[in-house]
Subunit: 343 residues, 2 copies
DNA sequence: TTGAAAGCGATACCAT
DNA sequence: ATGGTATCGCTTTCAA
């Protein structure tokens, strides 16, 4: 493959019959350039197909126009959606995204950040993970004067600039919705007790129940892996033991689907005492969803969605602020969830 | 925020009492450096927390260590998974990913590529989309001597270096599986007739049927939006009109889920003539899946999965080849699908 | 309004 | 085995 000689501002300057300084001024729109000269330079740029070398710009001290993103795992719908939103918003600002997957690993996170910095990013966003090595990472970034932003599903970092979903509000929203629909006995299904997100949501659920003078029964809060099979079994057991439960709040969409299958099966089997009763009574399902609204499963379920894409947009906006005028005060931005009532 | 002065090789050289050339040689492991000097330099690097500026390297003519990725839409599970795999494999090679979302838009694609090139990427991968502007894009990349690789869900580019899933084989695989399980009358549900992926899959399905001497009936191939509701209705209509059908092949997981609901509902409603018959006969479902195996829905369905992550890995490997020794011959690499029999 | 020249950080050739 | 230095493409004073 023959590599055409790269076009530089020198070539442009030559073609336009001006100096490189002039070309640079035209490019950046600074300095007062006569209209005629501007025209000629732009023509030359057009004709030669010149594209400005950002690395040289950045080396000289300018911005690279690149934001680094460290994401725990891109294949998770939540982070994929967040990343898509972030990339979208950045591109609208003529910036780009540098992507790394840092996993949960601390040492790996440091290497990732180092790489990002060595590439001259204007800022770094850490989405999920890297909670433990927070201090080291922040020192690294601070030493380079690069703004660091966090996006997280739960609020484990109090003193950092962070954007996150409002898990508590989400739980309150959906719990209140169920109550308004007449449910008095609402159970919880799914998630591991070690999950911070779950803890926050449970807080909102619990608070709302008490606020409405309804019973909060810890036997009605069931831990469960995110597996349809396990959820289906778990809801069966739950309802058999507690036949008065009229609504179940599911930790995520997998749980919701499993729960629904569980209800179907229970109803279908029929004639087994308690089993058919709750189907006939139409136990209501509600669930938290990780996916964008358009991708919600078509189940008879009320969803609460965390607007991951919106979080991405917000991150882009906040990063722009940080880059332009570094208001040092760490700040928390909390993005509310939306309710999608059962259709 | 106080920005610590950036550490350069000059600082390292000073600290180690050697020249910058020596530091550079130690960094790149070229030239013969005495062990003692090497030690001293590395100590200084460690002590000062020096990180090499890749922009300067790249400006001087070295590699940037960055691969550009233009992806149609990151929030689609297939591309998210592909991107995750690619990023994973690249990081193992000490390279990074530059991400852009180019949508389907031609002009936008050109701008994306331009930006990538201006950032000094060592190579570019286009995943989905940008089919129409192929020629322009390739010229742009070629002019800069940057290798261009395609990843696509269907084979619309014959003369390019491309990696893609084997849609035909996938369809053959699953169709054959159904036949071996004793199904003779297999219908197709889902997808739009304008979809290239679907066309290729239909080809495999059709070929396999004929190969086994089974009837291929175009009335049994149903177009359908990827919506659970529509799929549920469509399968109902299909089976009512063609009660002899014993298996249905679904274009994706949404269709599969809808189809399954359709079967459930049909079975449940009972007593409506044809409606109950097909439920009792246990119509088998099989489906193509976009998601990784671990994320498959827990349905009584036989899945064929396109290994998106593997495609990502393969892309990384091929890109490495292209960067190192540019064997110009465009080459197609076709990644086979895997069967996940109904559990 | 425009041009000349210094310098950003790293590399590699040419000396020593 | 090391050191000096021109160079990559661009921005930015300082002069003209």
């Amino acid at each position: 493959m023959t590599v055409a000689k790269k076009i530089t501002i020198n070539d442009v300057a030559l073609a336009a019959g001006v100096s490189v300084s002039t070309v640079s001024l035209v490019l950046s729109g600074k300095g007062r350039i006569s209209h005629a000269t501007g025209e000629r330079v732009n023509d030359a740029i057009e004709k030669l197909g010149f594209v400005r070398n950002r690395q040289a710009v950045s080396l000289r001290g300018g911005q690279s126009g690149v934001i680094g993103l460290m994401v725990r795992d891109l294949s998770s719908p939540f982070y994929a959606e967040l990343t898509a939103g972030l990339s979208e918003a950045l591109e609208a600002q003529d910036r780009m995204l540098f992507l790394t997957q840092c996993g949960g690993d601390g040492a790996r996170s440091e290497r990732c950040l180092s790489t990002l910095l060595s590439q001259g990013v204007d800022g770094v966003i850490i989405a999920g993970g890297a909670a433990d090595t927070g201090a080291t990472l922040r020192e690294l970034a601070a030493a380079r004067g690069v703004p660091l932003l966090y996006a997280s599903r739960a609020s484990y970092l109090d003193d950092a600039d962070i954007i996150r979903p409002d898990n508590m509000q989400a739980a309150q929203l959906v719990t209140e919705h169920l109550i308004r629909r007449g449910h008095q006995r609402i159970a919880w299904l799914g998630g591991r007790s070690s999950s911070l997100t779950r803890a926050e949501r449970l807080g909102g659920y619990c608070a709302t129940l008490l606020q409405y003078g309804l019973p909060f029964n810890s036997d009605w809060v069931i831990e469960c892996e995110s597996s349809q099979k396990q959820a289906a079994e778990a809801i069966g057991t739950l309802l058999r033991r507690n036949p008065t439960i009229s609504a179940v709040l599911c930790h995520n969409n997998t749980i919701a689907m499993g729960a629904w299958f569980g209800l179907m099966r229970g109803g279908r089997q029929g004639g087994e005492g308690g089993m058919e009763s709750y189907y006939d009574r139409q136990v209501a399902l509600a669930a938290f969803a990780d996916v964008p609204e358009a991708a919600l499963d078509d189940l008879p379920v009320t969803w609460v969605t965390t607007p991951a894409r919106e979080i991405g947009h917000t991150l882009a906006g906040r990063m722009l602020q940080r880059i332009n005028d570094d208001e040092g005060a760490p700040r928390q931005q909390i993005i509310p969830a939306r309710l999608v009532p059962q259709r």
